[in-house]
């Protein structure tokens, strides 16, 4: 199906883009890779008055390596993240996650900023950013601010970005003992459940996707983990979780997947 008609704007700078968002007063949407937004518009689940296509803003691309962290421009595609040597060595969880998103064609268009801003409850990158304790930088009419992953994901498809803000970059700390494991049934499907584990010696940060309206930390696992008891700690992955039932899986099955996938993610992270 063809999307409903909209006005199309093509800003050449972040400042321009913010001004255009302001001009359309909340009825405009940012267009990045378009691989969540255009499918929704084709199905007429979204019908914005205007699209602000940030795709040509060069400053939003690229990967910067620093001693402790990696900064990734919002427009960097999944394929670029998956293929970057600095990410594969410094933050393997991120490279492996990007390489497993959708399919080849999706990874050639979809962007890291779009995935984070879209906050799909079955998306892979929000949970990974949460486990990494990463952050996003946003620019809006009131300037620039940094939002910790823990404060970013609010609810189903909702972040704490305001509608007139542009997510400009994502920053992740380096974490060599890190891994993401997801489960789905069919090729190209979104995760039914996914588990991200970042291990530092005897402590770990764990986040889950697909178990609620936004990614969550598995606090009970983190509390139980002592640096070697992966199976026992992972057994707590569904503690306090009220995972939803839908056509893909029952809540009970999601709880089971959470326990299994957290164990596998911890094992994979520690083996790196």
């Amino acid at each position: 199906m063809i999307p409903q008609a909209f006005e199309y704007e093509q800003p050449s700078s972040v400042a321009d883009a913010i001004a255009m968002l302001g001009k359309h007063g909340g009825e405009a949407r940012v267009l990045a890779g378009g691989h969540s937004l255009l499918p929704m518009m084709k199905l007429r689940l979204a019908a914005p008055d205007a699209l602000i296509d940030i795709g040509r803003i060069a400053s939003l691309r690229g990967i910067t390596d620093t001693p402790d962290a990696i900064t990734i421009g919002a427009l960097t595609t999944h394929a670029e993240v998956a293929g970057a040597e600095v990410i594969a060595s410094g933050c393997p969880i991120l490279a492996e996650t990007a390489a497993g998103i959708g399919d080849l064609q999706v990874r050639n268009r979809g962007t890291i900023g779009g995935s984070i801003a879209n906050a799909d409850p079955h998306g892979d990158l929000p949970a990974v950013l949460l486990a990494l304790d990463g952050e996003a930088t946003a620019e809006g009419p009131n300037g620039r601010r940094t939002i910790a992953a823990a404060d970013l994901f609010v609810d189903y498809l909702q972040t704490s970005l305001s509608p007139d803000e542009i997510l400009t970059e994502v920053r992740v700390p380096k974490a060599s003992n890190s891994a993401y494991v997801k489960f789905n049934r069919r090729a190209q499907d979104w995760a039914i459940v996914g588990a991200a584990a970042v291990v530092h010696g005897s402590s770990a940060r764990i986040a889950l996707t697909g178990v609620g309206s936004k990614p969550v930390r598995a606090a009970a696992v983190e509390a139980a983990f002592d640096g070697s008891n992966t199976a026992e700690a992972a057994g707590h992955a569904a503690d306090g979780l009220d995972a939803p039932s839908d056509t893909a899986a029952s809540g009970e099955y999601r709880a089971h997947l959470a326990r299994v996938l957290v164990r596998r993610a911890l094992e994979a992270a520690m083996a790196r």
Partner: protein
């Protein structure tokens, strides 16, 4: 309101006006009559619409024509030269990598890129690499065989 774009398709530059909501696949099929690129779904899943945008395989149903302004597009019509099938097309032909043929243009476009990135893929890598292309007929066996044949150059 129409917007001016210049899009090069199979080496021919087209300067024209398009409505912003025009999807690249419709621009190719309906404005340029290049109907080799197919539409098989409404959900960005099937990959029948796969073309190369600046050398990368993309689903042209999930790209606006205005996003392709200034870019080079290659469609299935552009992969053969001088009336000779591309080796990947020949491999699909010879190994019966198609039945109804609906998915085939997208499969071929994705498979050529797959071999560019990985010239000697395992069967598992071929299946994984073509994850974005669905086929309702073949059960994929002969599609994998076609890509393997193209990789090893065993086509006449």
């Amino acid at each position: 309101m129409k917007r001016a774009v210049t899009i090069s398709v199979n080496g021919v530059s087209h300067a024209t006006g398009v409505e912003p909501r025009t999807l690249l696949v419709h621009f190719l099929r309906e404005h340029l009559n290049l109907t080799g690129t197919h539409v098989g779904c409404d959900t960005s899943n099937c990959g029948a619409c796969t073309v190369w945008l600046d050398g990368m395989a993309v689903k042209s149903c999930t790209v606006l024509a205005v996003q392709a302004d200034g870019s080079e597009v290659t469609t299935i019509e552009g992969v053969s030269a001088n009336g000779e099938l591309h080796p990947m097309q020949r491999a699909f032909h010879e190994t019966h990598g198609l039945q109804c043929g609906y998915c085939t243009p997208g499969m071929v476009m994705a498979a050529i890129k797959l071999l560019e990135a990985n010239p000697d893929p395992s069967d598992a890598e071929i299946r994984r690499g073509l994850e974005g292309n669905l086929c309702r007929c073949t059960g994929y066996e002969n599609i994998v065989a076609a890509v393997r044949a193209a990789a090893s150059g065993v086509t006449v």
